[in-house]
Symmetry: C2
Subunit: 503 residues, 2 copies
């Protein structure tokens, strides 16, 4: 049926806002991947100006009026349209009310500061010196606290920021979930074997790029709608319909770094690509549901698929060919074991899937205390280093391999980290359910590199749902039970067993 | 002295407009150089939305009020500030009055259509079939006629479009200038020798890229403020302070194609980089003066410098090294002669400097008739082909090498072509004057690859002038006489003589 006029009216304004938010993504992508360094200051002003503008539009009274008119106009319509449009307008109003709480100048200041902070963080990291960045980080922490105050909270400021990334999540619940997870992880980590890098020689960036460029389309993301580039920190971003961007980074001595970067980011982009195939895209229901759900998509492709035997049975000959090495130089089992090697290391983005969540738990505890005012920015290196000693038994030699390693805090993204572990939990649960429904899928994976059943399952159960249902209901409807960590735990236990007995 | 408050107020709004116009340049650059093909439609909407928005801001009544207030406030100030600010406000008002003449919807439609047309033109060109593009081109011609009507004109519609690129230029004067030029060119073309491609083998894109990447910084444009990429049609664009982008394209059999693409576009970017070094950038006086002046900067570096003996005396050993070929495989004289070879060919962008202006004259005559309604879009291939026969003695085999070869009409840029020849005229005149003032410059060029005297001369006489003076006065002040074609003619005559007697 045709859209009621008031729905059309409000959506026109919504789409204009979305159009400019996506313009901001272009500006960001370019600044991370392409821009010459002297462009940064001006680019920061541009990003800030777009943020200010979209925020103005979002908080404009005439937009509120349009939303109210739309809400009013649909009350007499029949189900199911009414229910869906009600949900759409509710979701939008939530977002809008959040925007209303932030003054435009605050939004512009935040956007500009975080963009400027990027270069300073990169410099401090290069110099391995936290002090070069601590003043700016303090500004960002203070702004984030201010943001938490603007949003409001019941129990603690950190909840306000967390909710921004994972709706209705609470630090208390996360803390208790993470404590249980940590307990289960400790024996798994202790029993998990470490395997040596089996690559017989350095693999050039050119050869790795050749192989990496194949991966997105094998998983289901074509080159007509995506591209792969290089950046310091791998990321993915949707620049609009038909335009998903992925980045990775290359290590000649360890090609897994680039490969797993691509698999991870492709998972994100496949989700975004599914969202933009929803009918009536873009509208408030065609946005990603939460960062945890987003991360479940990247983790599932990276770990459950990308570290699996069937996947490598298919990819192995292609990799040998692209890397121009022989089977005897790189025996399959040695490669496969290395892919599933476990080792306590210092760098989160290079961590294996078993120890990874311990990195997140550490960050969650620190940032929670930081935002709640229990610790100070200047003490961060000391706190970080002592926690690394405690959880990993490792001695941090300098800030680049410690507190300065991640991009999130310089981005002003406090409350973001826990969503990585939530993503691991969701992803394992989704994949387990998929395997139940498609018990033969591994044969298609290994024999033909055909992942279409999995992609269809994800499209149907996750991607096509957008924001139509809550996080809770999405997991329940897709898997038949509430979200819980047991599938992640059993996946990791099984994996460790599998590779331990492999000779 | 401090800026008067009303000047500050209006400039704040001006800078916001400029910020978003430069955002549009980012969107354009990305869409030509990076974007996956399925992103085009959405990107077109973004570009259109930004065009509509900046046009709204430009034509907003409150902006007019700010300009008027600023104008009023400076009347009692002492010279020279008053004169400069008066000029600044005048220039802005001219631009604003032009914008006022175009309805916002027209601007958005034009932006969207030209962005869509790009892909269709590329497809038609690939298929070598004008008919695939003729309907869209007709729309663009009609929109451009409408634009001419909005702008208004005294003698003919084409003047309105021409004025948009080259202020105060008139088709009648251009016609008479071009007729004289053509007469002088015919005997030069007739006597100019053709030399064969001396490259002993294909040179890989990788090797060419290595060489090409050196060129901008040798000329004075560092990699901190610029980058070089590949696109179908070489272009350059300024994305803001400290961020100039250049593109070229590669032919393995003829490396001159990429090299001269880079030299040309670097010339443009050096001008833009000089403009953004003007005090109080950005303001209406720090914009480029005209397309003809812009082109003079690219032509001067491409031809007067890039095809000169001193330049190649310096670059030759570097080229041999990067291309991994020996002196005996590519003797200097054969290379140098080929760089200055003359031949009547079909493709403008590959034309030599002697025949180049004949290509422009042909396009000028056609587009003038098209906009003035004397010829029809559907007849374009026939008209094109018969003119090519007449002026060049060449038979066009298909539309890709004929009427579809250029990007300008698909961009809706009618009235643009003549500025190329104006640029050649200005460029030759500027360089002649520079050589008079720095008679020893060629020694620095050839011995050290040091082009700083020339860049300083251009910075002082052209770049730092922005829009402070008129085109007429710029040429007069820089060279001591009005613009005229005799230096271009004598430059070409000398060049043809030089290479004719070289063995």
């Amino acid at each position: 049926m045709a859209l009621p006029q008031p729905i059309q009216n409000y959506r026109k304004q919504y789409r204009k806002i979305k159009l400019f938010q996506d313009i901001s993504s272009v500006l960001h992508w370019d600044s991370e991947v392409m821009m010459p360094e002297e462009g940064r200051e001006y680019r920061s002003s541009q990003i800030a100006a777009v943020a200010e503008l979209t925020h103005e539009w979002m908080t404009d009274k005439s937009f509120l009026k349009q939303i109210q008119d739309a809400k009013h106009s649909i009350q007499e319509l029949p189900e199911p349209e009414r229910v869906l449009w009600n949900r759409e307008l509710e979701i939008l109003m939530e977002e809008k009310e959040k925007a209303d709480k932030l003054p435009s100048e605050f939004v512009a200041e935040f956007a500009k500061l975080t963009n400027l902070a990027h270069a300073e963080w990169a410099e401090a990291k290069k110099e391995k010196n936290f002090k070069l960045f601590s003043n700016r980080l303090e500004e960002l922490v203070n702004l984030s606290k201010k943001q938490a105050d603007y949003f409001g909270y019941t129990t603690e400021p950190y909840d306000a920021l967390l909710d921004h990334y994972e709706k209705d999540a609470k630090a208390n619940q996360i803390q208790s979930l993470f404590s249980d997870l940590k307990k289960s992880l400790i024996p798994i980590v202790a029993s998990a074997p470490k395997f040596e890098n089996p690559f017989p020689k350095a693999i050039s960036v050119e050869k790795q790029t050749k192989f990496c460029n194949r991966l997105p389309s094998i998983l289901g993301l074509t080159s007509k709608e995506s591209r792969l580039d290089t950046s310091n920190h791998p990321f993915s971003t949707s620049l609009g319909k038909g335009d998903k961007r992925i980045t990775t980074r290359y290590s000649e001595s360890d090609p897994l770094s680039s490969i797993f970067g691509v698999l991870h980011e492709t998972g994100h982009s496949l989700y975004e690509s599914g969202l933009s195939q929803m009918p009536d895209w873009p509208n408030p229901l065609t946005e990603y549901l939460s960062l945890g759900i987003h991360e479940s998509q990247s983790r599932l492709w990276e770990n459950q698929v990308g570290r699996s035997l069937p996947f490598w049975e298919f990819m192995y000959p292609i990799l040998l060919n692209d890397f121009e090495i022989s089977e005897s130089e790189l025996p399959f089992k040695r490669l496969y074991k290395y892919i599933n090697s476990t080792e306590k290391t210092k760098i989160r983005v290079e961590a294996d899937q078993v120890t990874y969540n311990l990195h997140i738990i550490l960050r969650f505890e620190i940032e929670r205390d930081l935002i709640n005012g229990k610790i100070k920015v200047k003490d961060l290196p000391e706190i970080w280093n002592s926690k690394m000693k405690e959880s990993f038994g490792l001695t941090i030699e300098n800030d680049a391999e410690g507190v300065l390693q991640d991009i999130h805090w310089p981005m002003g993204a406090f409350g973001y980290f826990p969503t990585y572990t939530l993503g691991n939990i969701f992803g394992a649960q989704f994949f387990r359910k998929f395997k139940e429904e498609y018990p033969d899928s591994h044969n298609k994976f290994s024999a033909k590199g055909d992942f279409s059943d999995l992609l269809s399952w994800l499209r149907k159960n996750i991607h096509s749902k957008g924001k139509i249902v809550s996080i809770e209901n999405l997991v329940l409807e897709a898997t038949g039970e509430p979200a819980n960590a047991k599938y992640l735990i059993s996946y990791l236990e099984d994996k460790v067993k599998e590779v331990s007995i492999l000779n």
